[in-house]
Amino acid sequence: MEVQKTTLYNYHKNLGAKFVPFAGYEMPIQYKEGIVKEHISTRSYAGFFDVSHMGQFFLEGDDTLINALEKIIPADLKSLKLNHSKYSFLLNENGGIIDDLIITKTLKGFCIILNAACKNNDVKEISKFLSKDHKYFMNSDLSLIALQGPKSVEILEKLTPGVSNLKFMTGANFNFEGKNLYITRSGYTGEDGFEISIPNQKVEKLIQFLIDNKVNPVGLGARDTLRLEAGLCLYGHDLNQEINPIEANLKWAIAKRRREEGGFNGWEKIKELLTSGSNKKRVGILPEGRVIARENTKIFSEQGEEIGVITSGTFGPSVKAPVAMGYVNSNFSKIGTKIQLEVRGKKHEAKVSELPFFKKSYVK
């Protein structure tokens, strides 16, 4: 498959971006300032991220659409109010996570933001449950820009007055030079911020506005350090088809009504695990000292028994220490449990930690 580019590709180039192939796209991993500065300026001021590679998938239909989607998504879509969003998943028959997503109730149905690497397969999986009365399409005429950080609201309010009234995980339509923007208060950094769905032909103008307001571009590198400090999962690393939401410690993302009533892929497995507990569990991990435990690092108990594996690990620029998450045998998942990480053949002390590593500041 040919490598794809987002509408902003040349713009990124002019901003000094270094590109990497990611999910079939050429995406900026960092700009001139580098990952640490991009990370810090997002937390102290604001940063913008081009996330137009992600799927903006729209579904339209009557109430039967809700029933269809609830067969593969364990969120309470029946009671999801207009312009409200939920974090959820597509589940396979064993309860494994096909993708994690944000679903928003729209006037005609739903909008789902899908991971770039999964989006084509996701459509296949979702469409298995749809009928001819349901309309669906991936909208590639839209770009998606995340604006994250404490100054985001003040800055965006100047462009689209009223965004400051949005609460976390809600959205609304705004007018920008005669074009419709759909803006939600959400993100993937642990900071207050917005995701702006905007027609491709207007996206450069939006970016120019942000740059004029001293908002720096942020690449995938800092996106990863920010989300990991915020304790958020990255699909393909912390989540995959072999892992279910109970193991992933994401039970909260399965609606209470759905947990009780079931009627979705993998419910039997999940119901069983809700009572018995899972054998393994996703936990936060803080290595002692400076050593960085990256993905696939083996985890051992103090007694030397292999008990799990790291799925994400990096240096947290705001925590000012290495941070990681991974899966351990549930007997070792209690916060504070001492564990050992094998890095380059040597065992290093670490402990199971609370998530997030960096405290969030969402506007609720």
């Binding site: 990952i35 800092a222 350090t225 400076r290 960085i292 380059r344």
Partner: protein
């Protein structure tokens, strides 16, 4: 071949070597730090360790990834630079000066002949962009 004390030699793996008698100082080049990005972790070898030419001798990690640092020459480690272990960001600010990685007692001076001069290294970097 006579090696000028002040003259640095460079490897294809982006290490530099400068010689003082039979002691060499080894570090990574500015170009290497630019490719790596923000350096957040460094591991240097202990004194007494024997390293082979092109053998793994140290580790450098950026926010992106971990990389091995190879010794461009064989010998015995005299000292690892503890100051970059305590403050890895210093490697970004002064890679070819104060932020050297290790000092090594040379086993075979002729190994230096296979390394590049600054002009050759600059040409190599230009022809092999990352």
């Amino acid at each position: 071949m006579v090696v000028n004390m002040s003259e640095k030699k460079f490897s294809k793996k982006h290490e530099w070597v400068s010689l003082d008698g039979d002691t060499a100082t080894v570090g990574i080049t500015k170009h290497a730090t630019e490719m790596l990005g923000d350096i957040v972790f460094v591991e240097v070898p202990e004194a007494g360790k024997i390293v082979e030419k092109d053998g793994q001798a140290a580790v450098v990690e950026s926010t992106k990834a971990a990389s091995d640092v190879y010794s461009p020459i064989s010998g015995e480690i005299i000292e690892g630079n503890k100051s970059i272990v305590d403050d890895p960001g210093n490697v970004n600010s002064d890679p070819e000066g104060a932020s050297w990685f290790f000092k090594i007692k040379l086993k075979n001076k002729s190994e230096l002949d296979s390394l590049m001069s600054i002009t050759e290294y600059e040409k190599f970097v230009a022809e092999n962009p990352s």
